[in-house]
Subunit: 428 residues, 2 copies
């Protein structure tokens, strides 16, 4: 890629604000990429050239509204947009037009951005996939549920995309597609206007090309200057953790973590092994319990009134969720609360801990979006996490590693992530 | 009241299920009450006789779906309903028709209930009031934001109503209207499909005629048998707390707490004074900080695109919320988290602690829905709380007391509340 689409988000917005780049030209460059790749990739649920160019021209005509001025952003179709249909990956909502933008979209607009289109989500962000394929090999899944967001950014069709994560829906597809996925601390980005699946877990985040773009965008959106302007940590202390799910790590993931360790050491990081407390072994199950229980209730209207339009996989989740008693659910949440209290000791002096982002490369086929086993625990705990591309596996597909940070200290995590991203690039 | 409207919710549903009472007759009795009182009270945003009777007749024709079979429930107009307009108390949403029922409504339907109509909320559940007056004296406010829900139940126009609370929007209007208001533990009832205002605070609850009705309904809705079938605690240990806001308590509230103490002692409760930890003095301010910060962001779309349709009071809140920096917001949330950890020591052996529900009787006039100062702290802490009617004040208006319980132990709170309700009735 060259030309305006190769600029960082910050640089593109600055050039547009300074009238050195027209927002219309910038948008047109992304639309050209979409025209070139979308037929193969299928990342978009909805994109309309005229709507995009009209919004871009308006940016050219008006004074800059904020640091995102003129940036066209992809929006996962689990997120309400007033100007574009929002279908949540379900035929129940065919042609649905929400009455308001989700808060995250409205905040992006208020800072000058606008919607580039809606990206494919699995059905209600669970496991039944949409039409999207992996840009690196169309015979493989892009992962999910933020399938279209990850594929669109990976295929160069969008500079950044909103995603959401309830189990592993940002970090896993980012790993499969070779892009950066950033799930901020639980609650950092408001969830108003996003289809509610599991209130204890649902987290809004982004898929981006670089750690800097992700931190800049979320920093602007949330008014957090330390995140917006994050610089690489000079010599971060980074933990490596063979999580309790280590048996699920395929050779490609084991090798990626080994390479990451070598690259970090070579770049001057202080690397040490850390261990998840033994009590955390049950957290993957606890996450699954909370998710099934809450989804069966949050989607009660769809479950009861539209049972014929629910996929078998989701119907099974509902059945399972309804058999979980309140005492089991309460115990899972209590287990998570206890585990959160042990996190400071787990991190000790580490700014970030490296764990697998996914079991391995993107699985072949399109019926299955892959296993979120390495993400569930961290989503339940509410820690910020970021997937950074870290080479490729034996099938030649990308693979990422996941850096997990302290709750509420997203800036420190992203500073360590910037350092790591550069270290991996040098080693590659 | 006599006839079917005098039955408890459980008894009415049982009689309908046993075909000893027709759901249509039961609904018609409530509709007759609405016809008699609504012109004076203005509790309803939307109610349609034919829709209600059609739903009731369907209940008569089908096998009982669950323990709420045939019960017509009022729904605060902050809560999405697919069959009825949902306007959130704002002209921005005039005629808005959501695509789905909120989860709480769908769960109530799945248990056999149906909607009686939508009750007036203040503008986005903040302070700009709707048309509702206090059923005990139309020159006074009913309180808010669940104004219509409290007034409808108080005027005998609905057996039970959904409400929501972000500061004091269930407990305060219940006190002003002389009915029971029950805000469960934070998160007990799912929030999917409720207009999101402040994610850290928004809580779904109910306004009811009795503690038993409130516990039964919420127990069924959440599948929590201990709550559904709660019995009065035999001789509960109940704390009395002069909260840090005691200076705001008017003589009517001081007298109501004194009467409550006497009644509880006479009924055999073990009563003791408890003190809020000194560190909790800042929680009222912290709640206000969290609410302003989150509402200014959750309602970003309405704020940016519809500024001309926002009331001055809400615009002021937005302005204030936007000036709060993330570090101030983070500090307020951290203060709340620390305070939650001190709650077990605060409650010690008490099943519930009695505090004021409101500063005094309902203020005169309709421009102001009263002060939630006695509710803010407990909403921030996520404790379950219930307002129980406890006599009247010098203006002859009702006054309630608030019982606060341990997080997650709603059944114990409601057992103490049942005991208290009976004790107050004997003393009256």
């Amino acid at each position: 890629m060259s030309g305006p689409t190769s600029l960082s988000l910050r640089a593109a917005a600055q050039q547009i604000a300074a009238k050195r780049l027209s927002a219309a030209d910038y948008a047109a460059a992304w639309l050209a990429r979409i025209e070139a790749r979308e037929a193969e990739i299928g990342a978009w649920q909805y994109v309309d050239r005229d709507t995009v160019l009209t919004a871009a021209r308006r940016c050219d005509d008006e004074a800059p509204r904020g640091p995102l001025h003129g940036l066209p952003i992809a929006v996962k179709d689990l997120i309400d947009t007033v100007g574009l249909p929002t279908e949540y990956g379900s035929p129940i909502y065919k042609g649905h037009r929400p009455a308001a933008d989700a808060a995250c979209v409205a905040l992006a607009r208020a800072a000058g951005a606008f919607g580039l289109g809606k990206t494919i989500t699995t059905e209600f962000a669970y496991f039944s996939p949409g039409k999207t394929v992996n840009p690196h090999n169309p015979a493989h899944t892009p992962g999910g549920s933020s399938s279209g967001s990850a594929a669109a950014v990976a295929a160069g069709m969008a500079p950044l995309a909103f995603g959401t994560q309830t189990a592993g829906s940002i970090l896993r597809p980012a790993s499969y597609c070779g892009v950066v996925g950033y799930k901020p601390t639980f609650g950092l980005i408001p969830r108003a206007g996003i289809k509610s699946l599991a209130e204890s877990l649902d987290t809004v985040g982004v898929i981006a090309r670089t750690v800097e773009d992700a931190a800049f965008f979320v920093g602007v959106l949330t008014g957090r200057g330390a995140l917006r302007d994050v610089a690489a940590a000079p010599a971060p202390r980074i933990g490596f953790c063979r999580t309790p799910m280590w048996d699920e790590a395929e050779p490609a993931t084991v090798a990626a973590l080994d390479r990451a360790r070598g690259a970090l050491l070579a770049a001057g990081a202080r690397v040490e092994d850390v261990a998840v407390p033994a009590e955390h072994r049950g957290l993957v199950t606890a996450q699954d319990t909370v998710m099934a229980y809450e989804m069966a209730r949050a989607l009660a209207d769809e479950r009861v009134r539209h049972g014929d339009l629910i996929s078998p996989a989701l119907a099974q989740l509902f059945d399972r969720g309804l058999t979980i008693g309140p005492e089991v659910y309460d115990a899972a949440r209590a287990e998570a609360a206890m585990a959160r209290q042990r996190l400071p000791a787990f991190f000790a002096d580490c700014a970030a801990v490296v764990v697998p982002a996914a079991p391995g490369e993107a699985p072949a086929g399109h019926a299955y979006t892959g296993n979120p086993v390495f993400n569930r625990m961290w989503t339940l705990l509410g820690t910020p996490a970021v997937t950074i591309p870290a080479g490729s596996g034996t099938a030649g597909l990308p693979i990422g590693v996941q850096l997990v940070g302290r709750v509420g200290d997203d800036a420190a995590l992203m500073a360590a992530a910037l350092f790591s991203e550069r270290a991996f690039a040098v080693a590659a």
